[in-house]
């Protein structure tokens, strides 16, 4: 159990009097795809924000790769190896796709390399950005302002940007929201490929079919508390989950 890449230990977060997360404990093992599901307002995005340092947990610990990262600033957590995307896409308004893929890369070496024209000073970064373009099929739109692209494309740019940060753990907040079936299927294949290259993935998703066919392990969050965990098959048959989340509408 101790070899988990990410481990949350009784994490709680309150906003004023509202308990957004209460005593959440979960684990993401190395090289696994883990999903967090739950109804709207269950605290899924809050959970992501606590892990990435956007919010501070009121209680409990977040451990990443053996380090207590609970109080670290966001940028340090990213550099330690956690990169994320956002539910409401947050791309940089004035930047091209290409620039998005350069900006998030970790710095290599000295300050001089950072202030000289990056084309000359850091060809390796250009190489990595090229790779990310290729992986996500963004080569044709590299010079477009990212915000002008279609919703599905913007999601891909966000994921590509997160990937160029060189993470060990990729956290995706509703990656298939706004994508059609083909795009979602394409993304599923892509995520499996990334996992095949050694990446661990933690994702929040509403699309049940997508989650069930992708994740190794699922956690179910309701009103800020975990109500179930297990493999997709176990979750599908769990009466508490059926009651709280899937309800009578379940078709899977």
């Amino acid at each position: 159990m101790s070899d988990a890449l990410l481990k949350l230990d009784n994490v709680s977060k309150t906003f004023g009097g509202i308990r957004a997360l209460s005593d959440v404990s979960l684990e993401v093992p190395q090289n696994r795809i883990v999903g967090v599901i739950g109804p709207n307002g269950a605290g899924k995005t809050t959970l992501f924000n606590v892990i990435t340092g956007a919010y501070r947990a009121n209680d409990g610990e977040v451990l990443f790769n053996g380090d207590k990262v609970t109080q670290w600033p966001s940028h340090r957590i990213v550099r330690a190896g956690i990169a994320r995307t956002f539910q409401n896409i947050r791309l940089f308004a004035g930047m091209t796709v290409w620039e998005h893929l350069l900006v998030a890369q970790p710095h290599q070496g000295n300050f001089l390399r950072r202030v000289l024209p990056s084309r000359l000073a850091d060809p390796a970064a250009w190489q990595r950005a090229e790779e990310a373009l290729e992986i996500f099929g963004l080569t044709d739109v590299r010079s477009s302002i990212a915000r002008t692209l279609s919703y599905g494309m913007q999601r891909k740019v966000e994921m590509a940007r997160a990937l160029t940060a060189g993470p060990k753990l990729l956290m995706l907040d509703e990656p298939v929201a706004g994508m059609n079936h083909d795009e979602a299927e394409e993304l599923r294949t892509l995520l499996l490929r990334l996992q095949g290259r050694g990446l661990s993935i933690l994702l929040i998703e509403h699309d049940m079919a997508f989650v069930m066919n992708l994740c190794h392990q699922l956690y179910v969050l309701d009103f800020g508390a975990l109500i179930a965990e297990g493999t997709p098959t176990e979750i599908r048959q769990n009466p508490i989950v059926l009651d709280a989340y899937l309800g009578s509408e379940t078709t899977c």
Binding site: A54, P73, F92, A93, M95, R113, L116, A121
Partner: protein
């Protein structure tokens, strides 16, 4: 070149440095209305060093740039907590603070001003102005500048993709302050007389105006804005008393048609592409 145009181009060079100092800080999304304060620090310090301590002008400018950078970093820290108009008001307060300080600071002449500086040539002014413009244009192609733009566009997201927003924003304040100090030092050694009123609120506004008019997303915009801001009122002299009003109308017309300023990245990309295609 006639002395008339030499004087105008000296003003353009000095304004360009001031505009660049605003542009550098604005590149991280922080609007400073207090850069005349940094300019004043540079002007007084450089003048003291050349007049009282007989330093060579270049050494005096470098020393005042470093000192202003330190002050800029100190101002940058509280500025981290402020955004938008609140930051603008706080920096404005800083600028007025510097002006009032020199108003009562008798060792440097107080309200009577300070004189006796060696005069610098037009080409010396442009050596600095051109050099720093070039430095900014090269920096614009770096990773650091890309990070500054990311912070400008979405500070929270920038932090969450791994950028140290605090260090970058403070660094930009320090760099901008250093450039403003050089602007002030050159101003002092061009006019060979300074008084606190030279570094008031209107001066800070001029810097911001040059950046907004020329285009606030590209360094070359500061050059275009500075040229227009100095030369246009001169070309409108035939309108006599109405020239400043006419200038105001032109300014509004430009901003109505091109809100992002005269130059922007898209325009520059198009121009350079044409040049490449023609070659």
């Amino acid at each position: 070149m006639s002395t008339y145009y030499a004087g105008l181009f000296a003003d353009v060079g000095i304004l360009l440095l001031g505009a660049l100092s605003v542009y550098i800080i604005l590149a991280t999304g922080q609007l400073s209305l207090g850069n005349a304060g940094f300019m004043g620090v540079g002007a007084y310090l450089a003048s003291y060093l050349t007049v009282e301590l007989h330093w060579p002008i270049t050494a005096a400018l470098l020393a005042s740039a470093v000192s202003a950078a330190i002050i800029g970093v100190i101002v940058g820290f509280p500025a981290l907590r402020l955004k938008g108009i609140y930051l603008a008001m706080a920096t404005l307060g800083f600028g007025e603070m510097v002006r009032s300080f020199f108003l009562v600071f008798e060792p440097m002449g107080g309200s009577g001003g300070f004189r006796g500086m060696p005069h610098v040539s037009l080409s010396y002014i442009w050596l600095w102005a051109g050099g720093i413009l070039l430095l900014v244009l090269v920096l614009e192609r770096s990773r650091l500048w890309l990070e500054m733009r990311a912070i400008h566009d979405d500070e929270t997201a920038a932090g969450l993709v791994g950028l140290n927003t605090t260090a970058t924003k403070i660094g930009a304040f320090g760099f901008g302050a250093a450039v403003a100090a050089i602007c002030g030092g050159l101003f002092a050694h061009h006019y060979v007389y300074i008084e606190p009123a030279n570094f008031g609120f209107e001066r800070s506004i001029d810097f911001v105006l040059a950046v907004i008019l020329g285009g606030s997303t590209v360094g070359a915009g500061a050059l275009v804005g500075s040229l227009l801001l100095v030369l246009l009122p001169e070309w409108l002299r035939f309108l006599v008393d109405w020239r400043l009003a006419a200038f105001g109308v032109l300014l509004i017309l430009v901003l109505l048609t091109r809100r992002q300023g005269i130059l922007d990245r898209a325009l520059i990309a198009r121009l350079t592409f044409r040049r490449r295609a023609a070659a």
